[in-house]
Every structure is written in C-alpha cells, then in structure tokens.
Symmetry: C2
Subunit: 556 residues, 2 copies
C-alpha cells in the first residue's frame, strides 16, 4: 500500500480511523479471539496510565511467537494502522501500555515468555520480552544457578528485555540494563527477521561479545521504533562469595553537599562503590515508608518546610539517605566496607546491616539489637519495615515492596499485594535528567528545579541515581490526584517546566514518557533528520510506533 | 547526480575511472596543493599494506577541519569517486591506508589532531581523529593530569578514535576502546553534521553518559561506512593509587590448559584480573623478543616441533606467557596479587615485577637481583629487554617497542626507531576470531586452526586476548615475505582458510581486514539486507567507502 498510516503534524501523530470490524477479524484470524481485545472497556483498561496523559487504541493484541508478531505487522500494514509495542507495559510513570497517539494497535508481548538458555559459565540468559524479573529469578533459584538477576526497584512483573530496551536501571553492579543486553533477534517493520551481531544464526559469541562484527546495531532498537525485539541475551552476575548491605544517612550541613557528591563519584571511580544506589531526599524516603501526612499539610497543596521537617522527625528520616550493596570475596567486602566508611563517615552515618536478613538465632539477635539501637536514635518502625526488601533488592531479588510507595497519596494505605498503580488510579510521573557526576552540576540542577516545584505547589521528590562514575540520573517524581482534571493539569505544567528547564541547561532526560516522547528530538533537528531517514528506509509506512522518541518517517 | 559511483558485482566494488586532472583541481581548490596527492609514486606509497592485498587510489587528501571533510565529500560526489577514510592508517596487518577497492579518494584525517578538552573530574577527553596515543599521553603528562590513556600495543602513532571505531583493543582496565568511546560528532555522507546523544550541541553529558537519549547511534559508525567521525569523547582512567605488574608463565601440562582457561575466566569475573592481557604462545612470545631462527628451520617453510622447542629453550620462553597490570588502592593491589597467585600458581609461575621500573637505588638493586635470578632460570637477556615497556604499556603508556616484532622474519634486526612496517615491506596479516571464554571453546579453535597452519607450512602464532569475562579474541598472526608473490599467495590461502573455518564453527572475527572486508556479511543475508537499506538511506550514491564491512547501497 502506498498511503502512509500516520502523519506528523506540528505536534502530534494523527492515526487514520480503523475499520474496526474487519481489523478485528484479521487479528483474530492470526491470533485467535482470546488474544485480541477490541471491546471499548478492554482497550480503555489496557491503556490506563499514571500520567496526566493516556491514549486509547483500537485494539490490543497478545502474540506468542515471532511469527505471530510478523503476522500482526502484516495485518497492521494491510489496515493502515500503526502498532505500539510493549513487553509487559509495567513502565509505570512513563506510560505503561499506552501509545503516545490515539488509535492503532497495541501489541503486548507478555505471552512471549520463554527462557531459551541460561549459560552458567558465561553468565547470561537468552530470553523473550515477556520474561519478567520475578520469573527469571525464580528460574535461576529453581535450577540452583550461581547467577543473579539485576532488578529494577519497581516490580517483579516488569519485563527484563523491555526495561533494558528503555534503558531502565537496577541497583546492583549490573544496574545498567541496556549495557547488560547482548545479542538480539529482531522483527523489522517490513516483517523481516534479523539477528544482530553480524554473523548470523550460528554465532557462538552472540550473547557473550557485545559489539558484534560490523556496525553495532543493537543500540538502534533501544528507545526507538525500528523493530520488535523478540529475543535477546542478558548478562547475569555470578553471585559473589560475600555480600553486605550499607545504609547511609547524610548528617552534614547543606554547605558540604557538593563536596559529598564529588567524594561519592571518587568512590565509584575507585570501585569502592560497586552498586548503583539511589540517594533519596527526605520527601522521597518518607513516602517510601509512610502515607502522606495530610494532617501536617493543612489547606496548602504541599508541605511547608516546617511540615516537612516535622514529618521527617516523626519518621526518623534524614535529609538524604541511600542503601547500597557491597560485593566480592570476603576480603574484598571487608576492604570495600573500610574504604566506604572512611570517606562517607565524614558526611554522615554509615551502618552495615547484612545480618538483618540472616536466618536463625544470630540473625534474630542482630535484628533485636539493631532495632533497639535504631529506635533509640529516633528511627520509626516504618523506616525499618522495608529494610529486608532493600537488602534483597541489592542482591538482585525483585520485589513489589517499593512500588507500593506510589499509593502514598491517593490511597489510605499501601496495598499488601497485587500492586497495579494504573488500574488503581495512582497519579504520578517521572522525569530523570542526566547530570555530570559533580557536586557543581548536582547542586545546580537541584537549585533550578526545587523552586519550580514550589511555584507549582508540589512536594519536592528527588532521587540521585548513580548511573556510572561519570553521570547521575536526577529522578524527579511528581504525585497528584489522577481523577482530578485540575490536578492533572497542574502536574502536567510542572512536568513540562522541569523537563524544559533541564533540557535548556544541557541535562537531557535518560528516557522519555509517552507524554513527551513525540517531542524528544525537537531540540535537535540534525538528529531528528537522521532518524527520519533511517525510519524512512526501514519503515516508510510508519507501521511501528510512529513518533516514539521523535522518530517518524517523512511522508512519501 | 543519479549515477551510482560504485557497484558491487559478485565479489568486488568496481570504481569508475576518475578524470584525474579535474579531480585534482577540485581537491586542490578546497584543501590547497600541499594536502592533495595524486602523483603515482605518492599514492603508491600511501596505499602500501602488510597484507597480501592492497589497492591504489587515484588521490590521497588530508583535510584539517570538519568543513574540509564536508568539502572533500562534495568534490567526491561531483566527480563520482568514493572516499575511503582512515584516521592515521596505522592499523598494520588489517589494511593501513589502503581501501578494499582500487581507485577513488583516500581521506587521511591525521591533520585533525586537536585535543578539545580534558575533563579531570569526569575522566574523559574530547579529541579529533588525528590525535594519537602518544600525543594524548604527552598532553596528559604535560598538564599534570591524573588521567591515564589506554593504548594498543602497536604504536604511539595510532589514532585513539580510529582504533576505537575499528573496535581495537588495549590492555589496561580501559582496554575496550569502543566501549570507552562516548559522544561523537559525525559528518554524514550527504555532508550533514550531526552530534550523537540525542540532545544536540549543549548536552552536558555528551561525553559522560554513553547511551544517549533515543536510539544509541554511536554504534552505527563503528566498523562501517555511514559517516566520518570528526570529533569524539574517550573515557580515561584515573591513575590508581598503586600498581603492580605480573608475569605469568604456564608450566602445567597440555591436559590442564582447558581448566586453566576456565580459571582465568573466573578471575576476570571476580575482578581479580582487571587488565586485559594477551596470553601468547611460544612462537608469538619468541618473535617479540628475537629474530627468526633461520638456522633452526633449515629448508622447510616453518619450524618443526623440535626446532620450535630448541628456539624456546634458547630464549627461555614458556609454552604460554602473559604480562598483566594490577590496579587500585594499596590494599586492593595486595589483595588482587594474593588472589591471582592463589589461582594461577596452580598452573605456572607468577612473578611480580613492578620494581623493575622503579628509579633509584632500590630499583637498580631489584633489577640486578631479578636479572640474576631469571638468568639462572634460563631466561635470555632478550626476554628481559622488553620488560620495561611491557610494564609501562599496562600503565597505558604507548610504545613502538612491540610492533618492532613484525620485522623478525623480513629483516636482520628490529629497528631501533622509526617503525613503519608497510614502508619497510614487512609481510603479515591478523585475524582475530572471538570465542566464548571457556576452556572448551579455546581448545576447540586451537585444535582446528593449528593443523591448518601446519598444512600451509606456517609457524603457529596465536595470542588469546581477554576481551571480557565472557569472550576471548584468538588472535592469529601470519608472517610471510611481502616481496615474493608465491609467499603472498600462500599467506592468502592460509588467511582465508583460517577465517572460513572459524566463521563456519561460529567464531566470527572481531574485525575485518581490507582483504576480507567486502565479504564480511556474506554469511548473513538478512543483516546484509538491513545494512544495505540503512546505507541506501544515508548514502544512496555510495560515496563513503562502499563495501566496507560488506555494506553497500543497492543500485538505484
């Protein structure tokens, strides 16, 4: 067909209407009725997000094989409908399963959940996009593997490949999920299937050597719309001989914060900081462990500095906190702990709490003593409740514990199980600008963004995520009432201003949400033009997620 | 213009003849006569290689700015001549400055040698493609930088960016040169200029955060022909507090070699092996330190096993040897040394020789004692002569010492200075198949390739290069008389058979030489098709190095 399926006007992709009945028939013919949703209520539920933004598709489909992915693309082409692809769609706060445009087909790969191989010697797994952190970890444990997953702190149900393709993060030494991705099998928009690595199917280093032969193409399929990754290799960390867990609380004055950030960087360069922790501010830490203190807020839209101080005191939370794993041989762990203590001790309190999770009598005794000590230092029971999950997360064990945090404003309590923030109407959105890992840059962006929160009347939620020794992700969270259109509007204004200011100052986000995806490349016409050329070559009809990350084929 | 400048027939790119005089005039108009070579003797000298393969261009040009690169591309397009690009062209044994086809323009970027920035805090430099290892190191030393370069073992004169774009390797913890590349400025074949990273010019994390925003495109410009990288960021390692140097000699029997390789991998996984050493076989080690023993060979074309054993004994060389740096705080270096010794001691002799390079009385005393000890153990003076450079190389100090090795057959002695193997007619070619880092795979490929050398009558030269904990590069070297056509033919037959066998068995090379570049993707039609589509979009007229790594735009 010659007609383009989507066009980009100044601001948005406009999808032409589908002939729903014949589209449904074609999709059912290739997938079976059980795996096609076109009912209005179904597609509404599928497309729910936590953002002040969502778009409803015409159909949601659930292929189970690469062949079915190819068949869906063929149907989409024939019907002139674009296909938005998610693996599990658990990227809460970035868009979940919603496209960035209205209409079209949403393809959810959750049924493609086979674990093809776990290589114990070389430390990798070959998996499909529906494989979750929880599933992979359970598989490794059941088979007695020596290998650890890394996991996001978000949910056990997240897709390992999906998160990696979105350049998501974990917290262990294998936190760089895209960096740990090695070898892909991809269905291209025209239905062709290609294996990356430059040496075809029989390539024995496909999942062992990252850069392949010839140009390194895996990067083309991250944060983009050039193909559907149907299989991939993910590197796994051999369990270290020893492990410990540190909790740091910043107690120095604000005048020391910049030099603390610089010292933190040097620990990462030296290898003493092996994990990739999140340094959470007081508000971020408090809402992980508690519900929103409406009693302290009064009639304002956010906590006053005094109210925040009172909440902090109530919970025993510091201005800045992080937890962090320590890994290696027994002697290496001892050495790293000494060195962390020497540097971080200058800025606050560092405690090692591995034995919190030790079973048996010794563990019970340790917990009792530590609890007593910490309570005497003003730490609330809530603050200690999540410790066990935090420790496990730094061993790569996925958990839903921390994502319960997003219920802290919209609900009376955090759920005990079955965490599903889009279904439950929690309103929040993330933006994570990258800054050079210097005290100067960190303080600069904090100083720019904090007043924007105050101006819009929002509580200031920020986590400094160690991306590498060279960069920090400054993750800003914004929480609001998803059911109140005015609140949505306020959140959207805050979100857009924070993004705009960060980008203007040279701090681009590490990923885009669906609310800002189409505009991602607007500040860089040369790059946008290059991407359009590649898109035009691989997907001239804009079948695959047009506009995702600003990538769209030009009209023909 | 609508005519394609190059076409791919079954085996080769055929470049249409140039109107030399008008081409020269156009090139001189943009670069000046001093920076254009079209004289037959000049282009002959430029295109010399060490391979049994080379192709002579019509012109060689030396732009000094990105604008001049753009101007040369415009001239090339206007004259229907393709442009082969090298930075310094010091990739001896892979092709030097020669294209993989005859004719066209060779563009040499050696005059683009500005160091734009060295970021001490974040550990990177922003440089142009003409910047050499030697130049960058000297700059760091002159400015009192805390940062180290990593360097190939080949030559001080190699291009830092050029080597990284070819996925070349060093030996320190920053050995993965493409991995250390972060942020690029690229001139596309149509003359457009683009900055990678997805956030345009003002991006403050351009050289600090590798994956950028949106698809990661830097990989597109490695081992390919999609653009000319005119500037790039390269990560540099902060000098560690302490350093030591280990030499390992394998003394266990051949039946232990597989388990030794597996133990070696586990040291890399655990972080005890921090460097990326080359494990050299007896022949490789011997020709680094000596000249070819024609007296031992007699009338054969290669050494018999007995002759090789005699040469080994004469020099005091073991069957397998590697040198390796140890890095970190003083306590970390002590710990790593203990752990290396514990594991490697089972398979051979491990000596720590840092003080070999210590100045002053202590160093002199150490050297005297060590020399005496090593001579008593049968080590020749030659074997010890290169130790000082080996130690420095593992501190990232570039040297021409080891590349002198390639003179071991063709000349009476290794040169004292001014190493230039293509000029001096040394005949050699490398191929480096990747194998999974297991004893099984290493032994398998050795067992496959060694008989091929014997069949063709060549001495077996191999180095096992630690690429990562998951992969080894098995670097095979082939040496021959470059001036004897029959020798060239023999070498070419060996080269092709080794490559074919390795690829058939699933071990692709980590890079292609110009002799095999055009056929790189022949075994993978789906990938070749994908690359052709991208090439067609970015360079429909095949202006830039058509056929490089098998990438060519389809006829229009």
């Amino acid at each position: 067909m010659s007609e383009t399926t989507a066009v980009l006007d100044a601001k948005e992709i406009v999808v032409r209407p589908a002939h729903s009945e014949s589209l449904r028939e074609s999709l059912v013919a290739v997938l079976g009725a059980a795996h096609v949703q076109t009912d209005e209520r179904e597609v509404e539920a599928v497309s729910r997000t936590n953002l002040p933004f969502r778009r409803v598709p015409v159909a949601a489909v659930y292929p189970s094989t690469a062949e079915e992915v190819q068949a869906v693309l063929a149907v989409a082409r024939a019907h002139g409908q674009p296909v938005w692809v998610v693996s599990k769609g658990k990227n809460w706060g970035y868009g979940s399963k919603s496209a960035s445009y209205a209409g079209g087909i949403t393809m959810i790969l959750e049924r493609m959940n086979r674990i093809h191989e776990v290589n114990e010697e070389l430390g990798y797994a070959v998996i499909e996009p529906g494989v979750t952190y929880g599933q992979l970890r359970a598989h490794l444990e059941a088979t007695g593997s020596r290998l650890w997953t890394d996991s996001t702190g978000s949910t056990r149900e997240g897709s390992v490949l999906g998160n990696a393709l979105d350049k998501g993060r974990g917290v262990t030494p294998y936190a760089d999920h895209f960096g740990a991705l090695c070898g892909m099998e991809v269905v291209l928009p025209d239905g062709e299937r290609v294996v990356t690595g430059g040496a075809g199917e029989g390539n024995r280093v496909w999942a062992a050597y990252k850069w392949g032969l010839g140009p390194y193409l895996d990067g083309l399929f991250a944060q983009s719309n050039f193909g559907v990754v149907v299989k991939g290799g993910i590197w796994l960390m051999p369990a270290p001989e020893a492990f410990d867990f540190a909790v740091f609380e910043y107690t120095a004055g604000p005048e020391c914060f910049g030099s603390f950030v610089d010292a933190f960087r040097e620990l990462a360069f030296a290898g003493d900081l092996q994990a990739r922790p999140h340094l959470a501010n007081d508000f971020a830490m408090s809402c992980i462990v508690s519900q929103y203190p409406y009693d302290l807020r009064g009639s304002a839209t956010c906590l006053s500095p005094e109210a925040m101080a009172a909440w902090r005191k109530r919970l025993g939370v510091s201005e800045w906190t992080f937890g962090c794993g320590v890994y290696g041989s027994r002697e290496e762990v001892r050495m790293r702990k000494r060195r962390l203590k020497r540097v971080l001790g200058r800025y606050g309190t560092l405690r090692f709490l591995k034995h919190w999770n030790t079973p048996g009598l010794f563990g019970r005794a340790f917990r009792a003593a530590a609890k007593l000590g910490l309570r005497l230092q003003g730490k609330s029971p809530q603050l200690l409740a999540g410790l066990s999950e935090a420790i496990e997360l730094f061993r790569g064990v996925p958990t839903d514990y921390f994502s319960r945090q997003v219920y802290f404003m919209s609900h009376d309590a955090k759920p005990e199980g079955d965490v599903d923030p889009p279904r439950d109407g929690c309103g929040f959105v993330w933006t994570g600008p990258l800054v050079p890992f210097t005290g100067r840059d960190a303080e600069r962006l904090l100083a720019l963004v904090k007043p924007i929160y105050a101006k819009h009347g929002f509580d200031f939620f920020v986590e400094l995520i160690v991306e590498s020794p060279r960069a920090l992700i400054m993750l800003f969270g914004m929480f609001f009432d998803r059911n109140d259109p005015r609140e949505c509007e306020r959140a959207r204004a805050l979100y857009e201003e924070v993004q705009a200011v960060a980008r203007r100052e040279g701090y681009p986000p590490y990923r885009s949400s669906i609310a800002s995806s189409a505009a991602t490349m607007d500040g860089d016409p040369a790059m946008k033009g290059l991407l359009a050329k590649v898109k035009g070559a691989l997907d001239p009809e804009n079948v695959l997620a047009p506009g995702r990350y600003g990538i769209v084929a030009p009209p023909r």
